[in-house]
Amino acid sequence: MKQLLTFIKKEFRHILRDTRSLLVLLGLPIVQLLIFGFAITNEVRNTSIAILDNSKDEVTQNIITKIESSQYFDIDRTISTSDQIEKAFKTGKIKVAIVFQQNFQEELLHLNKAQVQILADATDPNQATTLTNYLSSILMDYQTELNQQNKLPFTINTEMRMLYNPQLKGAYTSVPGVMGMILLLISTMMTSIAIVKEKEFGTMEILLVSPMKPWLVVLSKVIPYFIISMINVASILILSVLVLELPIQGSLLLLIGITTLYLLCALSLGILISTVTNSQLAAMLISLLGLMLPVVMLSGYAFPIANMPTVLQIISNIVPAKWYIIMVKGVMIKGVGIAGIWKESLVILGMTFFFLLVSVKRFKVRL
């Protein structure tokens, strides 16, 4: 036990000596959470729109005012012909355009029908759909206002409720996602590199010939990084509650419990990577190039898993972040208890054991 403590102390000295790395390790999750909590949002705001008003009457003017005051759109007033619209789309100056037919007001009020066309830049199909929906609903609102005097018979009044996130804040998806990503990537990287580094320098041999058991050597390397990760968890949670105003609905203890489990999983993945590589570059390639995009894209953070093709839905099961994000959403936002997330925690636990088992098999006492 005393030996282990000495080893842990040595590890800590290494870490504390390198202030730059320590700064990155502790500061990075905070910066990332803030950037992503505020910047990564699919809420539409200030999108450039071009308006081609072929009618220029009172009604179109009213609609334009409505669009302008919606804060979703910024009207680009330099564009007034269809040629210009085409050019603006090509250079990416505008994302959406709206075209009113000639004699809009006259036909609307006398023929009861007038046409308007929405053009969207579908390079990003998702954004195009969202923008078209927003514009349509502004137009529909205007129509309803217009028709308020003569009420239609047989009307269904729909009441809409947004559960859990009534203001549709982006932080509700970004905080669990960012937690899943940052904790996994940074913990995996830290451990894999710390162990491989000793291999690369040849100091691992010195450690292995010491009277310490090999697994204790590894453990003493993991513990300091586990502590750093826990500090990161604390700062992420404090920030998301205080700055991003995301309340923790469920039990804080449970949240910390599942996060600890998740960290252990990430650390054992790091150990596994360190047993299969010999250089820091290789460890870095696996833990950054190999993990970053799969974790972002298959964890359900960037794209909903339910929409993926079946093969990818199956593959997504091996991404630990997927299970963790489900649990965090459950505990933090929905406020479910252990009964709602025991399956996911078992999966993470299983993964942790699997990583450790393979590492033990691959671990060579002689280099």
Binding site: V24, S48, A114, T123, D124, P125, Q127, I156, N165, V296
Partner: protein, 372 residues
Amino acid sequence: MRILYFLLRKEFLQIFRNKLILRMIFIMPVLQLIILPNAANYEVKNITLSVVDHDHSEYSKKLINKFTSSGYFKLANISDSYEKALEIVEKDVADLIVEIPSGFERDLIRENETKLMIAANAISGQTAGLAVSYSNSIVREFNNEVRVEWIQLPRINQQPTIEITNSNWFNPRMNYKYFIVPGVLALLVTLVGYILTSLNIVKEKESGTIEQLNVTPIKKYQFILGKLIPFWILGLVVLSLGFLVSFIIYGIFPEGSFLLGYLFAAIYLIAILGFGLFTSTFAETQQQAMFIAYFFMMIFVLLGGLFAPIENMPDWARYLTYINPVSYLIEVMRMLVLKGSGFWDLLNHFIVVIVFAVVFNGLAILNYKKTT
């Protein structure tokens, strides 16, 4: 010139000696490019539905039927109370609740007005927004059908209606792959180039071999060039493989000039490699370089415009993307593949990326000290 030649030879020997790393550099990006873009799909289909029908009338059945046959919704559960349906949502079995009150049909016909309640799981605001707008249009359609049934036709169109038509430019079939594949390729090339260079010089520092290079008459710029060129060639190979995969697997071929895209990516690579080398001259240990690289990569990747539209970001984040090289590459790739933009449309992007290349490599040369 001879000095540079020897430096390049040394660098290539080192690269080809490590087969494991060489394999990783080529296989991982190709594999990811084949698999990952398929995950990208925001098209909301099969929204799971929980129905609470208190009315059990002909109309309520018709309405439910309209929901399930629309292609957007999938009936996952039928509950007898709203509370039970909420539990179902909590368990992630359903994402949308439609509650039909008792007397739905009777009120609609006799009182001319009836109520309907729809609740959506809004943790992901975007999915919820789409789900709600789809259900709105289904209800509106159903409502119109009821009216047609009860009112003589000519009376219906008495109200002014705005007819909305919409068209989606550049990608009329709304193919998400066209949008995501170029972006993923851009990210992978960036990751490979940046990781390799950011660890390179610092490795020589760590193992002490940099001293041997320092005492030779190699000029600073020659040293940086000797590091830059090999990785530039590697990066171009990865890029070409990526183009090949996008063409073979996804049938994507730049509508604009192919060469233009290649040229842009080649200049971009010089910029990103320069940034990597700068990181490497700055860091003291490989570990440090890695953490710094991780920091920038994470921000470059997530603020690059691939996962969330740049237009939606707050102003300060939008200014940040101006100094994010990745966002330029992603945008140019997209403009070429989808919009068929020409050189003059891309002129600004070219200028910016050339400035990046000069600045980053300049910093790397300046920051590389021949004395330790």
